[in-house]
Amino acid sequence: MDASVNKGTKPVRSVGKALPHDSAHLHVTGTASYTDDLPEPRGLLHLAVGMSRKPHAKVVGIDLTRVLDSPGVVDVCLASDIPGQNNYGAIVADDPVFADGLVQYVGQPVFVVAATSVDDARKAVRKVTIEYEELEAILDPLTAVEKRSFVLPSETLVRGDPETALENSPHRVQRRVWLGGQDQFYLEGHIAMAIPQEDGALLVYSSTQHPDEVQSMVAHATARPAKDIVVICRRMGGAFGGKESQAALIAVIAAIAAGKTGQPCKLRLDRDDDMIMTGKRHDFVIDYDAGFDDTGRILGINFEFASRCGMSADLSGPVNDRTMFHCDNAYYLENVRIVSHRCKTNTVSNTAFRGFGGPQGMFAIEYIIEDIAEALGKDPFDIRRRNFYGKNERNVTQYQQTVDDNIIDEIFDKLAADSDYEKRRAEIRKFNAGNKILRRGISMTPVKFGISFTNTLLNQAGALVHVYKDGTVQLNHGGTEMGQGLYIKVAQVVADEFQIGVDRIRIMAADTSKVPNASATAASSGSDMNGKAAQIAAAKIRARMTEYAARHFAVSEAEVEFVAGWVRAGENSLEFAELVRLAWADRVSLSATGFYKTPKINYDRKTFSGRPFFYFAYGAAVTEVIVDRLTGEHRLLRVDILHDCGDSLNPAVDLGQVEGGYVQGVGWLTTEELWWNDAGELGTHSPSTYKIPTCSDLAPDFRVELMQRAANREDTIYRSKAVGEPPLMLSLSAFHAIRDAIVADGGPSPDLHAPATPEAVLRAISGSTDE
């Protein structure tokens, strides 16, 4: 062996490199396998779900004769065919898999049909006759509040003395604002395939962010112990929270059918069924009353949030909690009352969506800031600066966590300078003075977002790393890949731990038989937690190899070093693979688990106080728009973003999250409108009517930067920060830029509700609410 590692050779680093997504070459060639692309087992049955047509009704009769007679149909399953629990709700057991005598929303599963082809199943399912006895339906949050219809008790968090503060405030603003929901619109719809195994076991391929919960729910519903269920997910075609809790519904249905027929069963929801049957981001009605002084400093606020949770609790508890945690955004609220109603409506059960209630809370406080600026005739920029959390004082949140990593001033200052905010704002004012029809607007908004599951126990992760005799590695962890780049980031971490290239690592599917009891890949925590867990696992193997190498070469362990594909042991050096082979021959274990739990966090839900978040991620955006006062149409003209990812594990992946999050947020606040009719039917259940941003919606001038030299103060994986959710809320600047453009002529404060569709903008301009 002539090659060897030089004394001067430095360790290689994959971490911090802008490596492409691990599956990029598969994505572009169409060879990345999603659940529907997996080879289909012989005898596979295809499923279609029969759904409720009524928002609230007793089911008096179900006639399945024509369904069963339909070509290709093999079997049907109803509630009575569920061997175990008829529930997939993980927090509150109020989510029936199949409606049992009572339907509570249009689209609720009532039965499933199994047929020999997708077409046959979908044709057959339409042939059912269901007799209903209709009950009164509650279709909006305000009616629910009025009728005290809640999925969970209302919560109140009070800090300071908001009543007195408000009474003594020299200025007040009050408003009621409607904030629309949002469909996740992952391109790959919900899907699961359940395959019976020997001795009663079940293998389930599921497009899920939470294989462990799918495992539990399948186990409960099919009356099996968890040990008999294996759930696998290599990748999802997008999820955004939509596949956190509700993927279980699809998997459970497939498992029930597989259990009953004894055949493999696949359920792939058609786009319309997916949008009708599964939950979305909560829409809110927000009331606020805010008091402030002449300088724009907030003195007291009363918030009242009413969110549409739909027919069950699902994740609505923690979602609405996060609204309460984030209605401060980056501002110190000394006196505040936050009331949160979790409204039970006869609509689909709303669920997680990137931001998880945070965006709605931040929307509220940013609207208040804008109102204050208008009332005082000041630039909202100054009101924001006036109210930011302090570094050493005014730095405790309404839930008693000290904000000790605050960098929002630095971000704001840098971005204001980089984006020429002040100059452009003045120029826009001039432009607007000379234009009656086209008006421009600009807004700069901050983001502060708390990182961790607010339910402390969920902040744990596991990994399993195998090193094979040829020096290659299989990497397993509990995280799931939905496009966010988690898998490449964790692979980069493990590659550095072994000092090998990521090409030596095979990234394995999330698999409950490899890593048990994993939390959902959610709350932006995927790389923080799985990165650490995988690093710990790899470090264990490396330590064993180090111990062996020291012994083998008779050097101290301190003299053993892993460097760029090599291992140095004193004066000796050998390739990593060679050391692996020797260690194996010496009967050293080359497989290890890693376990990580996020430190420092604690939180008492009863008092809404503690440290729910390990740290905060920060960012800010400036958006400039043009609005047509006659048509209400608008376009983004320029966007400047500065976002904090700590020391990025992979700047290309993080940049993608920031850009994608912003654009997705703009969709939420502008074009994406969920529309239900009076019968409780969703009218916008496909991309022909539900409009997510397209390519041309991207601002022609789009400048995004990650904060440099911004190491996380906390000991996260390589001092990086979570990036999944926070950037979504950068889009608040787009909404307020639109509002800025229509407020510009000094008229009454426009009542702009979200999403700011052309219709909403026209209403705001003309000052009329629904006519």
Partner: protein, 498 residues
């Protein structure tokens, strides 16, 4: 004996399919029958682009291939008979290097979850082969039919700009990898497609259901007379959804796409004649050439894959109250040439629609071509589309105007609207209110009031009734201001003018 099996080219091989359900989609065939899983289903209605594939045909001159991206999810398999189908797998067969489009997508981080990616790759591939250096707007237009939920599009646009960077030897030898403008012609591919040309109509039969693709208009007329209950299929961008969404079983389908006369597009000194099977992609540039005021409308109309399959005739005959071409065609006085058996007649478009999905066609009668008068230099023609999203959205309101001024006086004004009634129709009261009046704000305000008598719109997911009415009034006001030079751009063109 008419042909009964479908033949097309895939990766250089002729695929012959017998006894297939005539409404099986290209996507179903790829995924379920060939187990070719690269092409994805995102919506099964042609609105997300995950299923995008490219279809190649010998061009009119017979010396090159024309390539077009289409939505395979709503395209029935028999419609690609005689064509070459190019899917994401075709671009980089196992063991070969990535196609320049694919390479650029990897290098620019253009994929995250990857599910939309094969569709984007194919739309970019079509752009790569048809445009040597697209502008940002041309990229936007080319990708208008592809939704990505992850990236926010910036890296995909970057890939569209980077895909033209030269990438070595294989680019010279492989026609698929050559960008637009490369001198080499795909002679072997052309020859192969020529060998599939039919002399007899295709008649696919499966379980008693038929798909007829007549080759000339006489046999089309005869076939339709014999089967007056048949479904006429043109681009399939709506009929496809009857099958994929409503799960309807179409007993007999008669396809316009192979009928020579229906594919003709010609311009005389008086008319633009658009055959019923001419795609929107072919028809629109010719119309915009004569009516530049329709440029934005046509850019925003659906998406390239839809316009590449969908036809102007189909948009008209389908007769949706939210069809976007009809208001413009009505105000410029388009007429329809209709045929029943051996009899033809001409009918002004504005007389074609009677009520919601009720038109003037007799059983067995069909649209042969659309006759569009060439532009009158005296007339100002404009159209506006009002919807939630710029690209590929269905109009909540669509307007069109034709204005002739005599000095400052209105000598002729026509206005037609979609989205405001059960059919597309002229705004008779509004037109009357302006007739002979001075073209000023006062008259416009009167005309706006008259619009309330013309239309009683409904509320639906696209817009509420009251706002629809306000929108159409404001759109008219905007048209007025545009003619007065008070505003020279829309929010869509602002800051993007060349």
């Amino acid at each position: 004996m008419p042909g009964s099996s479908i033949r097309f080219v895939l990766d250089g091989e002729v695929i012959e399919v017998d006894d297939v359900d005539p409404t099986r989609t290209v996507l179903q065939f790829l995924r379920e029958d060939l187990r070719r899983k690269g092409t994805k289903e995102g919506c099964a209605e042609g609105d997300c682009g995950a299923c995008t594939v490219v279809v190649a045909e010998v061009n009119r001159d017979g010396d090159d291939l024309s390539l077009r991206a289409i939505n395979s999810c709503i395209q029935f398999l028999p419609t690609i008979d005689g064509k070459e189908l190019i899917t994401v797998e075709s671009l980089a067969p196992a063991g070969s290097k990535l196609h320049p489009v694919q390479r650029a997508m990897v290098e620019k981080h253009g994929s995250q979850c990857g599910f939309c990616t094969p569709g984007f790759v194919m739309s970019l591939f079509a752009l790569y082969k048809t445009n040597a250096s697209p502008s940002r707007q041309e990229v936007d237009d080319a990708l208008a039919g592809n939704l990505c939920r992850c990236t926010g599009y910036r890296p995909i646009i970057a890939a569209a700009q980077a895909m033209y960077e030269p990438c070595g030897d294989e680019q010279r030898s492989d026609w698929l990898k050559q960008p637009f403008g490369a001198p080499q012609k795909p002679r072997d591919r052309i020859a192969k497609l020529r060998s599939l040309a039919r002399t007899e109509a295709l008649d696919v039969e499966h379980a008693g259901r038929h798909f007829f693709a007549p080759l000339d208009v006489d046999s089309f007329a005869a076939t339709y007379s014999r089967n007056p209950d048949a479904t006429i299929l043109a681009g399939g961008t709506d009929v496809g959804l009857w099958v994929t969404k409503q799960h309807r079983e179409l007993e007999t389908v008669i396809y316009t796409g192979r009928v020579a006369e229906l594919g003709e597009l010609s311009v005389s000194s008086t008319h633009i004649e658009v055959g019923a099977a001419v795609t929107l992609s072919d028809a629109m540039p010719v119309i915009v050439d004569h009516y530049p005021g329709l440029d934005e409308l046509f850019r925003r109309f659906a998406s390239p894959p839809i316009r590449n399959a969908g036809t102007l005739g189909g948009n008209i005959a389908n007769g949706s109250p939210i069809g976007d071409t009809m208001p413009a065609l009505m105000v410029i006085g388009a007429a329809l040439l209709l045929r029943l058996g051996d009899t033809t007649r001409e009918l002004p478009l504005e007389d074609f629609y009677h009520d919601y999905q009720v038109n003037d066609l007799a059983p067995g009668e069909f649209l042969v071509r659309v006759r569009i008068p060439v532009a009158d230099p005296q007339a100002i023609v404009g159209s506006q589309k009002w919807s939630k999203r710029f690209d590929q959205d269905i109009s909540a309101v669509c307007t069109a105007y034709r204005l002739v001024l005599d000095g400052e006086t209105v000598s002729s004004f026509r206005m037609a609207c979609g989205g405001l009634a059960a059919v597309i129709k002229r705004a008779a009261h509004c037109e009357a209110a302006l007739d002979g009046q001075p073209w000023n704000e006062k008259s416009i305000e009167q005309a706006c009031r008259a619009l309330q008598e013309d239309f009683t719109p409904i509320s639906d997911m696209r817009a509420s009734a009251d706002i629809r009415l306000r929108a159409v009034q404001n759109l008219l006001r905007r048209f007025f201001h545009e003619t007065k030079g008070n505003v020279d751009s829309t929010v869509y063109t602002y800051g993007r003018q060349r």
